[in-house]
């Protein structure tokens, strides 16, 4: 038994105030050096790194709901770096490295679990794409290989190698592929940030952005029926799923279309599946959580929407494919279905950096790749806020790339793999 647990067990008064991960709510101040809009993983990570590396602690994170309650809560927690472009691989690889250290850094277990991610190829063209991803990933120090059907059988003996009319021909085996307790990532960052003096205000909805002379000066926010104007030196928007709506309040448009993305989970059963398995051709991926539940995800809904309702149609399609890949799951029971909102860009890469409004920085366009970027995004956004200079690693992801047609196209490396 770990020592930490003895400590709790032998105390009759646990938890003490000092054991709390998050401080009780406080009143909003009139002014902050930095206001971060959105208390998801990205927002609190940015606040954390601002405080930790740049000594900037007069920071407020404003969250309209609860901490990590948007896409941080809804994503299926896939961590990987096996993308296609050099810019993408470099960026996501840094994120994976940071993730591995988080539990000890936070003194809070995010349950980082390196299981490996297996993506299935059912066609020649998928094998070509996988080979390129293997090579690019390996080039930047990633742990990825192209494996044959026999190796796949050994990794996932329960997989149906002949689903539908599209047999499994090869696999992209990304050993670095991992998962983590997604909520805990946001909590760990919030814990570290608030301990360093950052304020987290939940149930605080930003209703407007005040821009004067092309420069952000304040944000307006609502707490229940109370309205506040909060002055700020710098504002960062990190509101995945609603990026376009908030940008509109700041007075500009983003090249983003928002689509619902659904996922679902079964009742827990004893563990039988270690790797995360994904089949782009079957629009389906599956993993077994630490609790024993099977989590299924797939493609986005076919039409744009800002509503996180669930649909029957997607469930039917996705689970039909899940049963093709793992026939015996037909007899398992689905427990829950839910939806997140994905801000899709035309090149399947994020938008980070400067915006048309001075001192207003963007952390947007996170489509289906937001959770896995949390640490590196927070770190680079914090550097941008602190120095005013766009870090090298995120230069390719500026919003200006769309008007200049400098895309970072990750479409093929994103489909149904998240």
């Amino acid at each position: 038994m770990p020592f930490a647990l003895l400590k709790y067990g032998l105390s009759n008064n646990y938890p003490f105030e000092k054991d709390a991960d998050l401080p009780p709510p406080t009143a909003l101040k009139k002014r902050y050096d930095v206001v971060i809009i959105g208390g998801g993983g990205h927002g609190v990570a940015t606040a954390y790194y601002l405080a930790k590396y740049h000594g900037i602690t007069n920071v407020a994170v404003l969250e309209k709901g609860y901490l990590g309650g948007g896409n941080t809560a809804r994503n299926t927690a896939v961590i990987r770096s096996n993308y296609l472009t050099s810019d993408g691989v470099k960026f996501y690889s840094e994120s994976v490295k940071l993730f591995k250290e988080l539990s000890n850094e936070f003194d809070f277990n995010i349950m980082y679990s390196q299981r490996g991610q297996l993506t299935l190829a059912h066609t020649d063209s998928a094998i070509r794409a996988f080979r390129q991803r293997t090579e690019v990933n390996t080039h930047f120090g990633g742990n990825t290989e192209l494996i044959d059907p026999q190796q796949i059988r050994e990794l996932v003996p329960t997989l149906n190698m002949n689903p539908g009319h599209q047999p499994v021909l090869a696999g992209l085996w990304h050993k670095d592929g991992a998962t983590a307790r997604h909520d805990a990532v946001a909590w760990g960052y919030a814990k570290g940030a608030t301990q360093r003096g950052v304020e987290l205000h939940q149930l605080t909805e930003v209703t407007d952005i005040v821009v004067e002379g092309g420069k952000v000066t304040a944000v307006k926010a609502k707490q229940g029926s109370a309205e506040h104007t909060i002055e700020c030196g710098i504002a960062v928007q990190a509101v995945a799923g609603h990026s376009t709506l908030l940008a509109e309040k700041a007075g500009f448009r983003l090249p983003i279309t928002t689509y619902p993305l659904q996922a679902m989970v079964t009742q827990p059963v004893k563990p039988f599946l270690d790797p995360l398995v994904s089949s782009p051709a079957f629009h389906c991926y599956v993993q077994q959580t630490g609790r024993g539940e099977l989590v299924f995800g797939g493609g986005s809904d076919p039409y744009p929407l800002y509503n996180s309702r669930s649909t029957l149609e997607l469930k039917e399609q996705l689970l039909a494919h899940a049963v093709e890949l793992f026939p015996f799951v037909a007899n398992l029971k689905l427990m829950r279905q839910w939806t997140g909102l994905t801000d899709m860009t035309s090149d399947y890469s994020p938008i980070m950096g400067l915006s048309p409004v001075e001192n207003y920085y963007l952390d947007a366009g996170w489509g289906t790749w937001g959770f896995k970027s949390t640490p590196i995004c927070g770190q680079t956004m914090a550097e941008l806020v602190a120095t005013g200079k766009v870090p090298e690693l995120i230069k390719p992801f500026g919003a200006d790339r769309f008007s200049e047609f400098r895309q970072v196209n990750e479409m093929g490396a994103t489909a149904a793999s998240h």
Partner: protein, 1019 residues
């Protein structure tokens, strides 16, 4: 203090008493003429038809059914209605089966879940004593120091995770789907649902009444009421009226498992998913009886009052010998009387409510007193005693909200019934956007904010007296009738009346095991501590503590959690709320959603010929296509056919080399039916083509083809094809197999704005097509057509409409097939693409194979075609292009008109073509010896700036094959260009990193690799 051990025999000692039942009329569900016999944990259980697994277990005195998730505590029946996770058992091929819902059947083999060893002696039961070391969220606070140790702990923890065991060899059974359409669906056939259905049906609506249980009646079937003397008679009367009503369809054992927008209801029954669309919907889903939170409230023998009533009335099971009833409402009095009537000694009725004079004289109180049952008001059970079964309760005076006197007294008993109130079955309503607000006076949640076409009635709507429940059902029906346009009457509100919820049935114990959530083994302090740790929002409490995340999804934990969190964070219960209920309502087998699980794909009209010829069929988008034609006995299918399998790769290479040489030397035939085809007809046909594709089309002569490239709004080449002009106002343009739908969509999308005089039709599947290619192709075709095939009469890049002759045969006269012929040169030989209506596809194939016989015609596949076109340097969209390829990178500037004002993507193309370029697609060549050395580049390998491991990536190999015609390894690759240094000049050596990290230097060469003068295709 009364923690002294109670040593007498517990009521339930497994199995020793045999099947025991109460006499009729108890046991409504049972057919006592037919018995069933099954195995539970290796012992034989006997029951009657109509028993659930659980009721049969109880009749045989098995009260311990499972072990709990975290502490491995003994668990038994709680609701007897399939509403809790205590009753989850394992069937051989199905985990997590609700013992109190699933019918018992002979030959079933039932085992307990989450047990290490046996159910009675679970080795993991020791975890029960370590609870204090596992505070809420403990796993966030431990297991990661020192660094790296988590990997070890994670494995240990995972082994303990999960409930049942999945049968990995299970073969899916047949499940299917059916659509239903109704004016009104009523969910739940209790008194509210039945009265709503009758009222609506009387008003002319076509009604579907859904009931999840095998019988209609809801609480009328098992509960007693103070305002109805004979609920069974009322139930039978309502059933009779329903069954004789022509407008009502009834489905029992049918669960409405979700609410989706516009009353789109998935209903599970048998092995079928019914997808029901209903104009109006009434949810009469009832409510769940709630437990009291005290120490030991999970010990087998502690049940809901309604569970005890169900045991007796539905299954004729005597729930105990010595009972205590703990109540916060009048229903507990009714339960006490019912128990007494069935010979159970009720040792005390403990009413948590304060003593009130009005109640003292109520008829119910009098009846209970007359039965000799002592009533203690203002008291509660503070602790249940016992291990594997209840042995007694510690009763204390309530001194404040959740507070009790320091000492109490022990009552020995083997049954404790709890009546603390009800929680509306709000799940489906929440999915419809319903909001919960807490009525502090009534200590009960109300539901509002429902869509216009969705109504609620009965106890889900806070109506509990039977007359009000029935009236509420009728009023909901009146509203639905009005909205259906069948009646003008306006509904009247129904009073709530009867109070049923006790405001604070939570008695936290310093030693814990006072469970709020049975699924997840969460105690009162766990919920409170989560808020003290900073997780104050109820959603955060859920996520941190896992409350409500188990199989029963918070049916019993939501209400106490909301109350506890509200108190701990000093908010009201409405502000605190409950966590969002999401579909499905009950856990649903994936098989229901998967249905028949068919996997449609397209076969061309010639598919059977390819199969007969032994082709290796490969998926191409939604199609199956022949890849190549291996010799007999060498066809490897399934995963063995993977190109990563050396044997499969060798067969493939040999085949495509032979097939390609044959096309180059004689004549070959390939099925190209999967090509997309779009008809553009009308006076503005050329104008539309001109606006969509990059080339100029206005002056394209009739009878000629032209290469057509489509660019996206990002300036990327996304599709290509051949545009044939058959008349001034008639184009037929091909598109890639997987791209055609998007191209068609784009054309129609734009034309809704342009309003050009054109008709656009996707005719991809209306035409079957082949490409007849090779030096002898003209000779083959000559036999079958009257068209002038001479180089002058039908030159390269021309197109013709004509016909293919079907020679007279077997008494049939000569006939003809209408055909479109295109002289195109994708494979670089004299060749004809022949498109015919799909129904003639197979005939066309046969005619050409027959006519080609004297010339040794052979079929060739897509993989061979890829090699042939590579020899000619032709690109394949999406193989040689990616999400960033613009025309400049592909040397396709010649196919982009600079003269016209607009084409799709023009603005972006203009910009990207002017920007400094960073890469370019070029041809490269390597000696054939690299094949033997294992250093042949494969598609996807990367090109580096320098022959150094760490050099920048400048590009990648898109195509690469050994060409027997050129006798070299040839390929295409993106290489550095312009801003990234120029690797594109012929003669440059480019470093390609191949398998195993080795580098090979390939020479850049001019395209094409073969027949540079382009003579062969123009013969």
């Amino acid at each position: 203090m009364s923690t002294a051990s109670v040593s007498s025999l517990p009521y339930a000692t497994a199995g020793h008493m045999g099947q025991q039942r109460l006499p009729e009329p108890m046991g409504l569900m049972l057919d006592r003429k037919h018995t069933v016999e099954f195995q539970f944990e290796g012992q034989t259980i006997r029951g009657y038809q109509g028993d659930t697994i659980g009721s049969a277990l109880l009749a045989n005195n098995f009260w311990m059914w499972s072990r709990s998730f975290k502490y491995h505590r003994p668990r038994g029946p709680l609701t007897m209605a399939g509403h809790d996770a205590n009753s989850l058992v394992q069937l051989p091929s199905e985990p997590n089966v609700l013992a109190d819902r699933i019918s018992a059947a002979s030959d079933m083999v039932v085992t307990a879940q989450n047990v290490n060893g046996s159910l009675a002696k679970d080795k993991d039961a020791i975890l029960n004593h370590f609870g204090r070391f596992m505070p809420v969220g403990f796993y966030y606070k431990a297991f990661y120091k020192p660094k790296g140790i988590w990997e070890w702990w994670e494995k240990k923890i995972r082994e303990k995770a999960g409930l049942g065991i999945a049968d990995l060899d299970f073969k899916p059974e047949y499940y299917d789907k059916q659509f239903l359409h109704h004016d009104l669906v009523v969910v739940g056939a209790g008194p509210a649902g039945m009265s709503a259905a009758l009222k609506a049906a009387d008003g002319g609506a076509n009604v579907l009444l859904l009931e999840e249980n095998p019988i209609l009646g809801g609480a009328l079937a098992y509960a007693d009421f103070d305002d109805v003397s004979d609920p069974e008679a009322l139930r039978r009367e309502l059933i009779h009226r329903i069954q004789s009503h022509a407008n009502i369809s009834v489905m029992t054992n049918a669960v409405c498992n979700a609410w989706f927008a516009d009353n789109w209801l998935p209903v599970l029954q048998g092995k079928r998913l019914f997808k029901v669309r209903s104009k109006q919907c009434i949810m009469a889903t009832g409510s769940y009886e709630q437990h009291v939170v005290f120490r030991g409230n999970d010990i087998p023998g502690v049940v809901m009052s309604s569970a005890a009533m169900r045991m007796m009335k539905l299954y004729a099971v005597k729930p105990g010998n010595n009972a205590v009833v703990l109540t916060g409402n009048d229903d507990g009095y009714l339960t006490a009387l019912a128990l007494h009537a069935q010979g159970v000694k009720v040792k005390a009725l403990i009413d948590m409510r304060e003593s009130r004079a009005s109640r003292a004289n109520s008829p119910l109180t009098k009846q209970v007193e007359q039965a000799g049952i002592p009533i203690r008001t203002g008291y509660t059970v503070y602790e249940a005693l016992g291990h594997q079964h209840l042995e007694g309760v510690d009763v204390r005076l309530i001194t404040g909200k959740g507070e009790v006197a320091p000492v109490g007294d022990t009552i020995r008993c083997d049954l404790l019934c709890m009546s603390a109130g009800y929680m509306p079955a709000y799940q489906l309503l929440c999915q419809a956007g319903g909001q919960l607000s807490y009525d502090d006076q009534r200590a009960e949640f109300n539901i509002s904010n429902l869509p216009d076409n969705l109504h609620i009635a009965g106890s889900v709507n806070a109506k509990h007296a039977i007359k009000q429940v029935i009236a509420d059902g009728e009023q909901a029906a009146i509203k639905a009738l009005r909205l259906l346009g069948l009646n003008d009457a306006v509904e009247q509100p129904v009073e709530c009346g009867k109070l049923v919820n006790f405001e604070w049935p939570i008695f936290k114990h310093p030693k814990g095991k006072d469970f709020v959530d049975f699924d997840e083994d969460l105690q009162a302090k766990d919920i409170i501590n989560a808020t003290r740790m900073g997780y104050r929002d109820v959603q955060l409490v859920k996520r941190f503590s896992t409350v409500g995340m188990g199989p029963s999804q918070g049916r019993h934990s939501a209400l106490p959690t909301a109350r506890l969190v509200a108190k701990a964070t000093d908010r009201n219960v409405t502000e605190t709320g409950v966590t969002t209920a999401r579909p499905p309502f009950t856990p649903e087998k994936l098989a229901y959603m998967a249905g028949r699980n068919f996997d449609p794909y397209r076969q061309t009209a010639m598919h059977h010929r390819h199969v007969e010829l032994g082709a290796k069929m490969i998926p191409a988008g939604v199609w199956a296509r022949p890849g190549f034609y291996p010799p007999a006995g060498q066809l490897l299918t399934g995963p063995e056919g993977s190109p990563l399998n050396p044997k499969a790769k060798a067969i493939r290479n040999a085949c495509i080399e032979a097939e390609s040489l044959h096309v180059r030397s004689k004549v070959g035939l390939i099925d190209v039916s999967t090509l997309g085809g779009i008809e553009v007809r009308g006076p503005d046909a050329a104008e539309l083509m001109n606006r969509i594709y990059t080339f100029g089309f206005l002056k394209q002569p009739v009878g000629k083809t032209r290469y057509a490239i489509l660019t996206s709004d990002q300036g990327v080449v996304v599709d290509d094809g051949v545009a044939c002009r058959f008349a001034d106002d008639h184009y037929y343009v091909t598109a890639t197999t997987s791209g055609v739908d998007a191209v068609y969509r784009l054309m129609t999308f734009w034309n809704t704005q342009w309003h050009l005089q054109v008709d656009i039709t996707n005719v991809s599947t209306a035409f079957a097509a082949v490409n007849l290619a090779g030096p002898d192709s003209r000779k083959v075709l000559e036999q079958l057509t009257d068209l002038d095939l001479s180089p002058e009469g039908f030159p390269y890049l021309a197109c013709r409409e004509g016909s293919i002759k079907v020679p007279a045969k077997n008494g049939q006269p000569e006939r003809s097939i209408p055909a479109r012929l295109l002289r195109v040169g994708f494979v670089g030989e004299l060749g004809y693409e022949i498109h015919v209506p799909t129904r003639y596809g197979e005939a066309l194939w046969d005619l050409l194979m027959d006519a080609g016989q004297p010339f040794d015609i052979k079929p060739f596949g897509v993989e061979t075609q890829r090699l042939l076109r590579l020899e000619k340097g032709h690109i394949i969209i999406s193989q040689d292009t990616d999400g960033m390829s613009h025309p400049g990178e592909l040397d396709l500037g010649w196919a982009v008109s600079n003269k016209k004002p607009y084409f799709n993507g023009k603005r972006a193309v203009d910009i990207v073509m002017k920007r400094p370029q960073s890469r370019k697609l070029v041809g490269f060549k390597l000696p054939s010896s690299v094949v033997g050395k294992g250093t042949k580049p494969e598609e996807g390998h990367i090109v580096l700036a320098e022959n150094l491991a760490g050099a920048d990536i400048t590009g990648n190999v898109t195509s690469c094959e050994y060409s027997p015609t050129v006798d070299a390894v040839i390929g295409m690759a993106y290489v550095g260009y312009g801003v990234k240094g120029d690797q594109s000049q012929p003669g440059s050596l480019i470093p390609i990193r191949v398998d195993g990290g080795q580098m090979v230097m390939a020479e850049v060469v001019e395209l094409p690799f073969f027949d540079k003068e382009q003579k062969r295709q123009e013969m």
